[in-house]
Symmetry: none
Subunit: 255 residues, 2 copies
């Protein structure tokens, strides 16, 4: 009866808890899970609510229910719901080619104009300077997983065409345009899908996204290329391995 102030419906929260227990092995196979009535008792809800949660587990084929016997977790849980897209220092494209996945790059727009103030500040240009802006969506096996907005100095990106952007990685394009990449600064954080991100990434509004801001410096330590990339959290994770020496300083940040 402890009605928490949660917007998500009760049956779905209970379903989430039960699903977590099932896939984590909390309920061992072979012995029946608690009955609907018992769960209703322990969650302090009505039986229909626990029933709906259990039915969702059955529709997912995570449990087997039979009248008079009870509910049992499936023996062979093929729940390798792993996140397929992984960024790593070894390079995403290498990884994807290695496992034979197909990526596609869709160019949403390519234009030039004034950039938002945050980008201008990062690139150390005045807000009146026109930058080249490219918006693209990356797909993996037909499912969009990233939406990127790139801002480039005109002398670098001025000659880019849409077909270039659709076929060639940005890093190759800027180097072909004469820029050398000396250093890259990255900032990673989490955000929510707004309406445009939801549209391009095929997720509901409010879905979790990972936001990566990258700033590229040339040999003179002049920033020439800034990118903001939104990744679907359900299709993307960022892996990072630190060896001993390099991690010495880093390890102070343990909580």
């Amino acid at each position: 009866m402890a009605e928490a102030p949660s917007p998500t419906p009760l049956y779905h929260r209970i379903y989430s808890v039960l699903r977590e227990r099932v896939v984590n092995g909390y309920y061992p196979p072979g012995v029946p899970m608690p009955s609907e009535a018992e769960l209703a008792e322990s969650f302090a809800v009505s039986r229909i609510t626990t029933r709906k949660a259990m039915e969702m587990l059955r529709s997912e084929a995570l449990v087997i229910r039979s009248r008079g016997r009870g509910t049992f977790v499936k023996e062979k849980l093929n729940t390798s719901i792993s996140r397929p897209v992984v960024s790593d220092v070894t390079g995403l494209l290498n990884y994807l080619n290695a496992i034979g996945r197909s990526t596609r790059l869709k160019v949403i727009s390519l234009d030039r104009g004034e950039a938002p103030p945050r980008i201008c500040a990062q690139m150390q240009v005045s807000p009146q300077v026109e930058l080249v802006r490219a918006v693209r969506v990356r797909e993996l096996d037909g499912a969009p997983y990233s939406l990127s907005t790139s801002y480039l100095l005109p002398e670098i990106g001025g000659a880019f065409r849409k077909q270039d952007l659709a076929s060639t990685a940005m890093i190759d394009l800027v180097q072909k345009a004469g820029a050398s990449v000396e250093q890259v600064e990255q900032v990673l954080t989490a955000t929510l899908a707004d309406e445009t991100a939801a549209l391009h990434l095929s997720v509901p509004v409010g879905a979790p996204l990972m936001r990566v801001n990258r700033l590229f410096f040339n040999a003179g330590m002049v920033p020439f290329y800034a990118a903001e990339i939104l990744y679907r959290a359900d299709l993307y994770e960022y892996r990072l391995t630190l060896k001993r020496d390099a991690s010495k300083e880093f390890l102070l940040d343990q909580s």
Copy 2:
């Protein structure tokens, strides 16, 4: 229009997005926010839905609404534009000490028991092995910004006491317990606050969080410590700088 696969009601997801924009300064004070009708248009929902989301913002005293004028964000909350907590290879605690911020570590629980299978698999132990589990909340100037759950091998964490955890960084504790840190694997992604995370981190349900999973290996490359940490996205960002040589491979992952 992509609104099917989410159990949380539409108005609450839109509220989360708008709230995020308000506290991040996306809507500048002084000029009215988009009207209910405009938001309904851009989110492709009915006006009642956006209206409910806006009303939630008003009930939180984040905005001021008046008929005929529009909706304005409160002037005085413009203090939280900067994201103070930053993780970096140079070390968070060094950074915080340098700028004179005060952190506090609150121990929620410290117990031992069987860990979820995912953790057991990471740590390469059988599911029956009892691990030491510590749940802690980190605060910066009184505001909680991270919720961490740590699992340790008993020979490492068996002697830890609550006061140790409240006063000493975990990395120092494990090294004092005889473990050497040879390598750390990290996985970063985004997620949404559930009820427990929302409670401990003082954010509304559905707020964006950054999730970091860390796995620590000793000199024999045996994992002895796994941690899952949830960070408030509005108070935390992860910075990473790549120099030229190290970034060569990485740069293939540009979209």
